[in-house]
Symmetry: C3
Amino acid sequence: MNKYRWTTLSIILAVLFASTGVCFAQEGSNDALESIVNVQKYNRAIHIMAMLIVGFGFLMVFARGYGRSALTATFLLVSVAIPIYFLISGLGIFGEPELEIDRLILAEFAAASLLICAGACLGRLKMGQYMLLGLIFVPFYMINEWIILGGGLGLLPGGAFADTGGSIVIHAFGALFGLGVILEMTTKNEFDRAIESDATSERFSMLGSMILWVFWPSFCAALVAPELVPRTAINVIMALCGSTIATYFASVAMRKNISIADIANATLAGGVAIGATCDHATYPAAFVIGILAGVLSTFGFAVIQSRLEGMIKGIDTCGVTNLHGFPGLLGGVAAIFVIDGISVGTQVTGIGITIVIAVISGYISGKVLSAFGRRAEPYEDSEEFIEAAP
Amino acid sequence: MNKYRWTTLSIILAVLFASTGVCFAQEGSNDALESIVNVQKYNRAIHIMAMLIVGFGFLMVFARGYGRSALTATFLLVSVAIPIYFLISGLGIFGEPELEIDRLILAEFAAASLLICAGACLGRLKMGQYMLLGLIFVPFYMINEWIILGGGLGLLPGGAFADTGGSIVIHAFGALFGLGVILEMTTKNEFDRAIESDATSERFSMLGSMILWVFWPSFCAALVAPELVPRTAINVIMALCGSTIATYFASVAMRKNISIADIANATLAGGVAIGATCDHATYPAAFVIGILAGVLSTFGFAVIQSRLEGMIKGIDTCGVTNLHGFPGLLGGVAAIFVIDGISVGTQVTGIGITIVIAVISGYISGKVLSAFGRRAEPYEDSEEFIEAAP
Amino acid sequence: MNKYRWTTLSIILAVLFASTGVCFAQEGSNDALESIVNVQKYNRAIHIMAMLIVGFGFLMVFARGYGRSALTATFLLVSVAIPIYFLISGLGIFGEPELEIDRLILAEFAAASLLICAGACLGRLKMGQYMLLGLIFVPFYMINEWIILGGGLGLLPGGAFADTGGSIVIHAFGALFGLGVILEMTTKNEFDRAIESDATSERFSMLGSMILWVFWPSFCAALVAPELVPRTAINVIMALCGSTIATYFASVAMRKNISIADIANATLAGGVAIGATCDHATYPAAFVIGILAGVLSTFGFAVIQSRLEGMIKGIDTCGVTNLHGFPGLLGGVAAIFVIDGISVGTQVTGIGITIVIAVISGYISGKVLSAFGRRAEPYEDSEEFIEAAP
């Protein structure tokens, strides 16, 4: 891979960014109360950043051979996604958020979805390709966001699709996009080599998982009105408690002994699934959604994954289909039963559109990425990183 | 242990939870300012969650053989404690908090106390037993909370006992309950096998300790009125600074070289001890309380622990007596000297009642837990977890 | 080193602290809105504490031989710096902040600068010496802060120097002070022994780096008015995105393969450099400042460091010159180009004064510290800590 190509790309990007950036200028609000509410949003934005960088980053460290590349890729993916989102959003094509702080949170949502997608491809891309993935992913993500939530193209009435915490537009989209990418990017001999973890990489992975668990309420409540924040947060916590307990029982039932990978991942499925209904559900409903999501996700890791991988001939390294794909879809569908007066047609259509856009654009992205190098052998950190002692 | 028994228990629990959950429904406040204050409480609730999950979780990882079980148990204990607290609180027996967000914080306090208790039992329970411990612990905790803080049974005047940050009702209660449990649950041959740590498990343990240190001000100030938050937070920080400095000097003085276990634990004793007076103390008083707590806690780890364990024939795995027991009691007593116009009788009685309830209910719980399996050999992760490479 | 000397010192310190502490007493604000704004500041103070303890602490764990001492030193440095800052600030010599919460944040800034300085000396001081360093550092830091920001001695007009996020008074000051210390404290045979890291210490180091990255916006926006918080935060994030992307490209360009130490450190240079202009820059300007800082910092690690160390015959263990020194100065100078109507004279004079005070007071401190023991051989944790299994 030619590094000058990348440098050129980066310079173009920077110039583009700088030239359009001027339209971001915005004055702070003069209303004291509104300013305070915005600072509270900012605070949730920081929590989300902890999830993106520390949470997703360390969750991916379970693979002991990819520690440095997974963490570096996380840094790079976030650092590409957020300015690109600001850049495109500033062009005004897809409408503009009213407040800068909302734009930041929406950009973080895009970065979360991108990180989910990248989890499927872990160990298959070089650093430059991760950045390229970010450049391609964010526009597709924004098109889907615009169609589903913003009424883009008039396919759905704006604001009618229920997905406050992003079960569909963030989690399922990212997972399915990743599935599209790996259709093209997996090579046969990856099936012969299991991804290895060890006691230390497992504990780092649990750290990532725990950071995600802890700050998840801020993710779902990020853009919610102040008076709904407590209810939303408690719903998310109830869903996470449900999926955590369910994951333990399901892991033991399906595998005889507990898999720490289930514990690190499927415990979070409640957070994924409650997204669509987090500001509407009652606590018991949230708890039950969490239980269902935990069981479904564990079933995904224990049973579905190997079959699906054989079927599509692609390896989903972090199992994002099981953590973000199925539970995300579950959450989107659960909204039909949980939210009074929801339009079933809108909800179903929105889910369908998201699936189609994600898989197709993911597949296209895989094609593009493979033009920049497709691997025969699994990635090792030592290819791109200076070696330390083991 | 019969896993179907556990499954049944879990289903009963879920149904119970769902059936009573409906009474949690609550509308958000319509007052803008009040909503904002509640969001600030929510924010401290997230900080507390970081302490519970990442803080307590990783603090327990010092034992290199229990990494996966300690982290998984932490997830499960929190996930059991919070819904159970909501469930029982929703029944209205012990009175109900006015605001949902207060209920969440009180549920987190219960989870903190439970995690302290579990720290005493680490390496002695299987995952199912940890959950059972949670089911038993929370009601006892709530009875004590109700008697001491809520005026339950008319033993103490409601609201008169000084314990804003929970030195007595959270820390001492959890530690003494744990002491009660291990009276019954320790087996003789545990005394022959020292708990081993290594350089990596020690650093993980320090991570847990640091997360607790950092967010402790939010724990103590969680339910404090906005105008008292800065003072409370600074008092907590002063106490932690005091105990940190004192721990270093005490560890060197008592052991010749520094024990990293002292640093990971006794540095936090200031946070434990300042709880009772965090919103009343002056900064110098807070600093001095921290120094005393740090010395006391280090003395506990270096000198008392082995004698006490021999005496009661029980092993306190994480030394919670030294970190939460003695410093908690110190804090409760310090209130008598620090708070103007405090009722000495109320304070002393409340401490006494807490000690009695904690030890007795802990002992009963130990009896119940041992019916579900009492170990001859120390626990190893490999009993319940699928093995990874070492 | 005589440990009784230290104990005596500590008692004197405690008494001093207690006797003057009384003047800190302050009543909470009665204005509801003001109290809420103060709680929001408190919240950013907690974020900063996470950076100080977990961020700086773990960033220093990259050296596998210093894990326990680096983390313990971090605890001790913060625990000394904050009370000392309160103590001196309470004396009123340098003027007093209006609000207690502002004083806490300013004390945390001093602790950050101290930790930066300590990073240069890592592996050269014993625990007692770190504390002594804190005792000496904070007064010098406060003199500089007073002269540069508070109009002390009338050298600069108060409030005219642009440095909201501390590029100069926090980062450059700490780094240059550290440079002064190591002039005196480095021994020749330290040059023969490279500092070793391993896969685990590298991942811990990345954890520290990520915590710093995530919470950096709260550092820069800590004392900013509510209506400017979103803009400030986004500027910081843009700068960090810029330095992160730039670091990757620069590391590959300068070293052929990526150095994880570059990724852990130089990615943060954007946060350092944006400090001086964080509340004034436009987003594209912030992004560009970040890119420049990332390249400069990586160049520092890859090229300048070894030459500079040879020249001054001192070893900068954590490379703080490259992360905090050069990018801090870059940020201070950038203010001249970015902020409309800035006084160039004031900015240049302030930077110059800071450089002079930092290097001279650092050199003096090095002299004092070496009186308490100067090492012939590099430090090993085992000198002061009880050994665990490796």
